[in-house]
């Protein structure tokens, strides 16, 4: 089996090289995060109908996307984890956000409906660290008056594959819990102290649905589609927030983009009364001085179109449109940074 995976990776690489080598100018290739694959393929389909230009996006994962753009085999890369300005500088890359999404905690407790259970960041960290082990723990009961929770052991479900969802989730836990930051840290995959690993959002959703008294985390779309009980989480302003497209967008709007060089900002634990604390951004990576300026211009045209006209489609797929002034800031950044 391991051989076939290796072969697949090689084939993928070859396919990319081949695609770049033989396509015409208006045929753009990108590779990276799986998180944005649904919206990018929807966009490229509509964009193709409107302009005739094709966008080929391969959802090989953020790590792969970063590697491919650095190797120069694609016109744009995509990552759920922003690269620091120094790394961008060294590789000659520009970086900007594409869409906003959000990660939500989901639980399977008998009688608990969506939004009913309240949690705080430090409490989630304690659960995932194995310090809070029962649902009727006093720490949980204290913020959930009127809700009877069972005296059952909490089963933790996390992602088994590396992912941007995990990255934003543990990034949030690291921000709110010093103990989490020290013991586990943050990354697209971490060494989980406890729990079961499900493959992909759908894997985590399936495990949480099947194991009673469990808690996991998925993107909102999966929680909604699977009718799962998501929890309200206390944000930086001290309010309990229900996850929704509006609260995700509030997080994006309140985040301090103005002072983020190369948009290097992770919008978890964002300020603002109505901000969802675990909102996530996807980032696009492109060359500042591309070898083939025509291709990069086509790619930028596509993203300009997507940011200005594609946002309705994003909402349909539970992605959140970028706030207006952020779009303006991105377009100013393009003009200043990308030399075509």
């Amino acid at each position: 089996m391991s051989i076939s995976i290796k072969l697949r990776a090689v084939a993928l690489g070859l396919a990319t090289v081949f695609a770049v080598g033989t396509t015409q100018a208006a045929d753009i290739t990108g590779a990276g995060a799986t998180f944005v694959y649904p919206i990018l393929s929807k966009w490229s389909d509509t964009y193709n109908k409107e302009t005739g230009n094709k966008i080929n996006y391969q959802s090989i994962g953020s790590g792969g996307g970063i590697a491919q753009i650095k190797a120069g085999t694609v016109d744009f890369g995509s990552s759920d984890k922003p690269l620091p300005p120094e790394e961008l500088e060294a590789a000659g890359l520009a970086q900007f956000p594409s869409v906003i999404g959000g990660v939500v905690p989901v639980v399977n407790i008998e009688g608990v409906t969506p939004g009913q259970l309240k949690l705080t960041g430090p409490l989630i960290a304690d659960i995932f660290l194995g310090k809070v082990t029962k649902w009727n723990d006093p720490a949980i009961a204290a913020i959930n008056e009127g809700l009877t929770l069972p005296s059952k052991t909490i089963t933790i479900v996390h992602r088994s594959d590396g992912s941007g969802t995990t990255f934003n989730w543990v990034n949030y836990l690291s921000k709110v819990s010093p103990e989490w930051r020290e013991k586990v840290g943050e990354g697209t995959s971490v060494q989980w102290p406890y729990g079961l690993g499900g493959k992909g959002n759908e894997g985590v959703a399936a495990y949480v649905k099947q194991v009673k008294n469990s808690i996991g985390y998925v993107e909102l779309a999966y929680a909604v589609q699977n009718n799962m009980s998501y929890a309200a989480v206390k944000n930086a302003a001290g309010k309990f927030i229900i996850p929704s497209d509006e609260t995700f967008q509030a997080a994006a709007a309140h985040a301090d983009w103005k002072n983020a060089q190369d948009f290097h900002l992770i919008i978890t634990n964002a300020p603002g009364e109505d901000s969802w604390p675990i909102a996530a951004t996807n980032f696009i990576l492109m060359y500042k001085q591309p070898k083939d300026a025509t291709r990069s211009r086509h790619a930028l045209d596509f993203f300009k179109w997507a940011l200005e006209n594609g946002q309705q489609q994003a909402s349909e797929l539970h992605f959140v449109p970028l706030p207006k002034d952020l779009v303006e800031q991105i377009e100013a950044y393009w003009a200043a940074q990308i030399k075509l």
Binding site: S62, S160, G162, V190
Partner: protein, 333 residues
């Protein structure tokens, strides 16, 4: 070659030598071509195997050099701090394959014996066809069946029962103590067993059919029961082929990826209990390959792939060794 010279020498009345020799030369030539072609086919397997193993070793050299032999027995798997060890996946791979074989070998043997010796003739073809169809089901289907059908069943009935009844036993107890999650190494082993049973049983059935009828009929004529015929005539006659079939199943169980990923729980922790989640080499690679974002991470995953080669090789070698022991004992009798 030898056949040709044999016939010419044996002919008392010879036709002109030149035609004979030409014919012999032609035969020798085509024989040589044939021999080289099949030799190339045989060597091709070795070349592919060697090439794959070597490229894995080469890709994993970073991990082997950085962590040294500790890579083999470290239980750490920490992508944040770049510390990796292979013990948990190796353990999970071997244990799940072992559980699968413990279940699959007797069941497959039963199926094969039933189909060749006991079942009414009209039933043999449809059941035989059903087994071959089972062998053709993609592993992802087994995985989904495992996750959506079998895992809830395990979590609801089997795991709690094992925990309550066997969990307290002195030696076996720790193996069956744990939370009723429904997924874990035992579940993975059982799903693997279901997957390899068609392979093993169809091989066994084929080879049982090759036992000459007169051997079995003589045994029956001497007053043997069906049990005695199976144990004393059929099994000894086909033993090496039966073991070959078991190897085939074992190889598949060791390398199976998708189905195991679905039901194993994918947790990098070593635990004595079979009811706890674990990890296997193939599942780890499948899960983490796409987002392996540092060189040492990627290298560790490829090194795991190399270790899967090594583990498979060692397991098969041990099985071969046991087989040759068995043969020697048989001769000694």
């Amino acid at each position: 070659m030898s056949v040709n010279t044999g016939t010419t020498a044996g002919e008392p009345l010879m036709r002109p030598m030149s035609a004979e020799t030409r014919r012999a030369h032609r035969d020798a030539f085509s024989d040589r071509i044939f021999r080289r072609t099949v030799a190339a086919a045989g060597l091709f397997v070795l070349l592919v195997l060697g090439g794959a193993a070597f490229s894995m070793l080469w890709g994993g050299r970073d991990a082997f050099l950085t962590f040294g032999p500790e890579f083999l027995w470290s239980t750490e798997w920490d992508a944040v701090n770049h510390r990796f060890g292979a013990l948990v996946p190796i353990y999970g791979t071997i244990v799940t394959a072992l559980i699968a074989m413990i279940i699959a070998v007797p069941v497959s043997f039963g199926i094969a014996v039933y189909l060749t010796e006991v079942a009414p003739t009209w039933l043999r073809t449809p059941v035989g066809a059903a087994i071959e169809l089972l062998a053709g089901i993609p592993s992802i289907i087994y995985g989904m069946w495992g996750l959506f059908v079998f895992v809830p069943f395990m979590g609801e009935y089997i795991s709690p029962w094992l925990n309550d009844n066997i969990g307290e036993w002195p030696i076996l107890g720790p193996l069956f103590r744990g939370p009723p999650l429904g997924m874990g190494m035992l579940t993975a082993g059982i799903v693997l067993a279901v997957m390899v049973i068609p392979f093993i049983s169809s091989v066994m059935r084929e080879v049982f059919l090759t036992v000459p009828t007169r051997l079995k009929e003589s045994a029956y004529a001497l007053g043997s029961t069906t049990t005695e015929v199976v144990w004393d005539v059929v099994l000894p006659y086909t033993r090496s082929a039966v073991i070959g079939g078991i190897f085939l199943g074992l190889g598949r169980a060791l390398g199976e990826t998708m189905a195991v990923t679905f039901v194993l729980g994918n947790a990098h922790r070593l635990s004595a209990s079979l009811l706890e989640p674990g990890n296997s080499i193939a599942a780890t690679i499948a899960n983490e390959f796409t987002e392996a974002d540092s060189d040492i991470y990627l290298s560790s995953l490829i090194a795991l792939g190399f270790l899967l080669f090594v583990v498979t090789f060692i397991v098969l070698a041990i099985a071969k060794l046991m087989l040759s022991r068995l043969n020697r004992q048989e001769f000694a009798k």
